[in-house]
């Protein structure tokens, strides 16, 4: 009987690196998400009535401000969109350089990114914050009460 030890090359399985690399990347991704994004995510916006009042909502810094576009305040002139945004009986004038597009309209909640300059909020990004209500589009209601969001808000 041949009792010569077998060479290790024939029995050794190659190490499976792919799961280890994938796991390392996942760990790295998790750390990046937690350290870079979760902190800013927790306080995503300040409400209109909190500007200059709440911690982290200083007028001098770049802000994300949430409020409702007041009915009848929306104007589009010279490539700019201006409107009044209100929340809890406080209002600010907002000027956005461009057309927000999408479902942006009066009576809808929005988050505007920008800075307070001379009492006006100059925004370079508008995000529509959709409510958790879903209703059928009704042409008659739209004709009688203006924009879609206002008709939904009025019931």
């Amino acid at each position: 009987m041949d009792l010569t030890p077998r060479t290790s090359e024939t029995s050794r399985k190659p190490r499976r690196w792919l799961p280890i690399v994938l796991l390392s990347l996942v760990g790295l991704g998790g750390i990046v998400i937690v350290t870079q994004f979760l902190t800013s995510a927790i306080d995503y916006y300040c409400n209109v009535d909190e500007i200059g009042v709440r911690s982290g909502c200083k007028e001098s810094t770049r802000l994300r401000v949430q409020g409702t576009v007041e009915q009848g305040s929306l104007q589009k002139t010279g490539g700019k969109t201006s409107f009044v945004m209100s929340f809890n009986n406080k209002s600010i004038n907002v000027v956005y350089a461009g057309d927000p597009g999408g479902v942006f309209q009066e009576c809808i909640s929005v988050v505007a990114h920008g800075r307070m300059i001379d009492g006006t909020f100059e925004s370079n990004r508008i995000e529509v914050k959709h409510s958790n209500e879903y209703a059928e589009k009704n042409a008659d209601r739209l004709n009688s009460s203006g924009s879609a969001a206002c008709s939904q808000a009025q019931g």
């Binding site: 998400i33 995000e127 958790n132 739209l142």
Partner: protein, 249 residues
């Protein structure tokens, strides 16, 4: 062993065929109702139709991850450490990750149409991304080197920790200020403000996706069983060959 392999070489049964057929039927209804019968939303217009895929896929992903945790706990607790629990946990997590990916993709498309952005690092989106990454990590852990028992033990611990993220994701819109809207169906007030046909189609989507989930998990865990059997068979064959080799010499 080869007899076992032959007996179980197909992953389908009469039950899975029935489940598959039902899944197709309900899915056809969801497609017809979601794309044709349901009305446009008063604010979102046509983009509301994404909801019939986005919301059910998110719920089924949660369900899949909860099943993974329950199966993992069952494996840890049971004295026999039945590998069936481990295979079910792995299969459920794989399908859950797929549904979570669908949730993220459809959510991004909806976000572009409604918010004007594909992605924002708001609380709901950030925690969802974190949940997705965690379960991709779970699947990577399952593929690390080691015996089947080591795989089961490691992944069970990860699964039981990872499932704790689900309440964080779901309640992120309540706990923190989020761009993502609050829950419509599972809202704390219980007052569902949604058109009746929209709501019915949404629940039909949940039923359809649940059937797809069950069908996929049953097939996947049987495929895993076949792989385990084949691996064991390969080991047995190697031992037998070595014994034969020894006796000849």
């Amino acid at each position: 062993m080869s007899q076992v392999l032959q007996r179980t070489s197909a992953t389908g049964t009469r039950a899975t065929k029935v489940i598959g057929a039902l899944a197709i039927l309900v899915m056809v209804w969801v497609v017809v109702s979601g794309l044709i019968l349901t009305p446009q939303d008063v604010v979102q217009g046509e983009s509301v139709r994404i909801m019939y895929v986005h919301v059910p896929s998110a719920w089924i992903a949660y369900l899949a991850f909860i099943f993974t945790a329950v199966a993992s706990a069952s494996w840890l607790i049971s004295k026999k450490h039945s590998m069936g629990f481990d295979r079910f946990a792995g299969a459920s997590a794989e399908v859950g990750v797929m549904f979570m990916a669908i949730t993220l993709i459809t959510g991004s498309l909806w976000g572009r149409l409604t918010w004007g952005e594909f992605w924002q690092w708001d609380p709901r989106l950030t925690t969802t991304a974190f949940l997705f990454v965690t379960y991709v990590g779970y699947l990577a852990v399952r593929r690390l080197e080691g015996s089947a028992e080591q795989r089961a033990r490691r992944s069970a611990v990860v699964a039981m920790l990872a499932v704790l993220e689900i309440p964080l994701v779901h309640f992120s819109v309540v706990l923190w200020r989020s761009l993502h809207q609050g829950a419509t169906v599972l809202n704390p007030n219980g007052d569902v403000k949604m058109d009746d046909l929209m709501l019915f189609t949404l629940f039909s989507g949940v039923v359809a996706f649940t059937l797809v989930f069950v069908w996929l998990v049953l097939h996947r865990q049987r495929t895993m069983l076949l792989v385990d059997i084949a691996n064991r068979q390969g080991l047995d064959a190697a031992i037998a060959a070595r014994k034969t080799e020894g006796s000849v010499r």
